[in-house]
């Protein structure tokens, strides 16, 4: 019954169009026969010979950790300091949550300084910043094996410039997936 209605519908449509189309003879219009086809693969066990249930809805759950994966991953520091300020706690917490949810995930925490001062001393200062963030994450239960704190010192500024605006953006620790 459905199949017939489907073809009549097609004929009706073809008839409507015939006036503008170039001579397609009605009795030559092919009749389509529709047979039930299996529902798409997601229907799973319910497909069977009778087809997927019409009311099937498959749930997609957005990964609650996906938001954390896109969360900010940078902690900024005051001059000569390696203290993780309160305003960056949410960054640390979000990343810790990600790592706790998946014990196979590994990150590098890359510490940086602004350009002022000696290169080796700045490398060590950047290391302290990376380790401060790592420590904060350990306190939230993250395995040490999932984190490697490293430093770029002053060698990889995020922003070029020799003013406090640039310097403030370079004093940072970045959490990078491995």
């Amino acid at each position: 019954m459905n199949a017939m209605r489907g073809s009549l519908g097609a004929l009706a449509a073809a008839a409507l169009l015939a006036g503008c189309a170039s001579g397609v003879k009605l009795n030559e219009t092919p009749v389509e026969t529709r047979t039930p086809v299996a529902a798409d693969a997601n229907a799973g066990a319910g497909a069977g010979a009778g087809g997927a249930p019409q009311s099937q809805v498959t749930t997609v759950s957005v990964d609650p950790n996906a938001a954390a994966a896109n969360a900010p991953r940078v902690v900024y520091f005051d001059f000569d300091s390696f203290v993780v300020k309160d305003e960056y706690r949410p960054v640390v917490e979000a990343q810790a949550k990600r790592l706790n949810a998946d014990k196979s995930k590994r990150v590098s925490i890359e510490g940086h300084t602004d350009e002022r001062g000696g290169r080796e001393y700045n490398l060590a200062l950047g290391q302290k910043r990376a380790e401060a963030v790592a420590r904060s994450m350990s306190l939230l239960g993250v395995n040490a094996a999932q984190i490697e704190p490293v430093s770029f010192g002053e060698e990889r500024p995020a922003v070029q410039g020799s003013d406090e605006g640039a310097w403030a953006k370079n004093r940072r620790a970045e959490i990078k997936d491995r």
């Binding site: 290169r119 490398l123 060590a124 380790e131 430093s151």
Partner: protein
């Protein structure tokens, strides 16, 4: 061209102008005769240089004279300051210099002038080491010493570079040398001639045939370069898209240790300069940096963070047998061995701010060495163990200082404010360092009294982290 004491600045202008004109004429003459580079070193009195418009003129004159010079000489020498006594020396064009394609006499002249102890006098005429100079003629030119030489080609394709030195005042033959070298070592032969002259006339070993290494950065690429001590003849030891820091020469001059970030963290490598063969010596958890060779070349001190923080360790030159030397909760870094190998100087902020300390090379309780100022880093010890060069922060400026280790007396050496990375020449007479000038990173040398400085002018690259190689290439 040092002006007489009491000369007015107008007198100095006249002296300077005629000096520049003669230099330019000479440069044009040399361009006409062969495809040599002209290396016109410019000397001025400190007072003249202190007037900004004269500094600009000096640089413009240098650039003008050099404008036509071919790319052979990419470094120009700019010397400021005048030493107490300078030996007036004439270095004649070496006979057949053109054969090898290197301006031997020009290299010798620039070397000797750069030391600050010599003043080059014009030496016209065609002479060689076999000539018998007429002393009265040279005395008439106010020359105290005269160097003559020649270059000839040997049957095996090498070049024979010969020179002889004359004491004009006494009319005495001071002897000479002959060096047989392949064409790639012609610059080295010229530097050896300069060393021989320097030693004969000052009684001290010259450093002209030593090498320096430094890092360049341009357009996001980094290189570690090895050049002659005059900055010329540069070759690239390492090219990388990631930063390179803290190069350190092995005591035998054959290897360089350095820190590379090519694996996205600081790792210490050791590389054979001649073959390019390299090995990682420290790649532990966290950052690995600040390599320093023991004087016998058998060990490296390094800064490791594998147990947290930045702490000094020592290891065999192959990277094995790692032993921890410091146990503080502070930053301990920048180790450097004393020349007798018995002590290690290093930087620590265990007292609240970075200062230089010293301890036995086997580890043990450190004693503090720097007390002036709240930020002292980058120690370098002179070859005789008596002086230490380092960087101090004063206000926002970073300045090169030298300390007499026995008395603790400290002296500033520069009037620039962004100094970094001092390193002693192996004869202990000069310090090379990096600083910022005209918006660029540049390399400078200075005498230990700070009076004579030279600038190694590069071809526009930012240059940093210079280290002076040992004797005996």
């Amino acid at each position: 061209m040092p002006a007489k004491a009491g000369a007015s600045w107008q007198d100095r202008i006249v002296l300077w102008q005629s000096f520049v004109e003669r230099r330019q004429a000479r440069c044009l003459a040399c361009l006409e005769s062969a495809a040599f580079g002209c290396l016109p070193p410019f000397m001025t009195t400190p007072d003249a240089l202190s007037r900004p418009h004269w500094r600009r003129r000096a640089v413009l004159a240098a650039l003008g004279a050099a404008a036509g010079a071919p790319a052979l000489a990419q470094f120009r020498v700019e010397i400021s300051g005048v030493g107490a006594t300078q030996i007036p020396i004439a270095i004649a064009r070496f006979r057949d210099e053109k054969l090898g394609g290197q301006p031997i006499s020009e290299i010798v002249r620039a070397d000797l002038e750069r030391s600050g102890l010599f003043r080059a006098i014009e030496a016209p005429g065609v002479l060689d080491e076999g000539s018998l100079p007429v002393m009265s003629e040279w005395k008439g030119r106010n020359v105290d010493a005269l160097a003559l030489g020649s270059v000839s080609r040997l049957a095996d394709g090498r070049f024979d570079v010969r020179h002889k030195l004359w004491d004009v005042v006494k009319g005495e033959d001071l002897g000479g040398q002959a060096y047989a070298v392949p064409s790639a070592d012609l610059r080295l032969a010229a530097h050896r001639v300069a060393d021989a002259i320097y030693e004969k006339l000052t009684g001290e070993k010259g450093v002209f045939s030593t090498r320096i290494a430094y890092v360049t950065r341009a357009a996001g690429r980094y290189t570690l370069r090895v050049t002659d001590a005059d900055g010329e003849g540069g070759q690239v030891a390492l090219a990388s898209p990631e930063p390179i820091i803290s190069p350190a020469w092995s005591p035998n001059g054959r290897e360089l240790a350095y820190v590379s970030f090519e694996t996205q963290k600081a790792v210490v490598w050791v590389q054979d300069i001649s073959s390019g063969a390299r090995r990682k010596v420290a790649d532990f958890r966290g950052s690995n940096s600040a390599p320093a060779w023991s004087p016998d070349g058998g060990q490296l001190a390094v800064t490791l963070s594998r147990e947290g923080g930045s702490q000094l360790h020592v290891m065999d030159r192959g990277g094995g047998n790692v032993r921890r030397l410091t146990s503080s909760s502070a930053i301990d870094t920048e180790p450097v061995f004393s020349p007798d190998g018995r002590q290690i100087y290093f930087v620590s902020d265990r007292g609240g701010s970075p200062q230089v300390y010293r301890m036995a090379a086997s580890g043990g309780s450190p004693e503090r060495v720097t007390f002036n100022g709240g930020y002292n880093i980058s120690p370098a010890i002179s070859p005789d163990g008596r002086s230490m060069a380092y960087i101090t922060r004063q206000g926002g400026a970073f300045k090169l200082m030298v300390m007499d280790l026995a008395s603790g007396d400290v002296r500033a050496l520069t009037d620039t404010s962004d100094d970094e990375s001092p390193s002693f020449a192996p004869n202990g007479r000069l310090i090379i360092y990096a600083t910022r000038s005209g918006g660029r990173d540049v390399l400078m040398t200075t005498t230990l009294d700070g009076r004579i400085k030279t600038r190694l002018l590069s071809s526009g690259l930012d240059v940093r982290e210079p280290v002076w190689g040992p004797f005996g290439r």
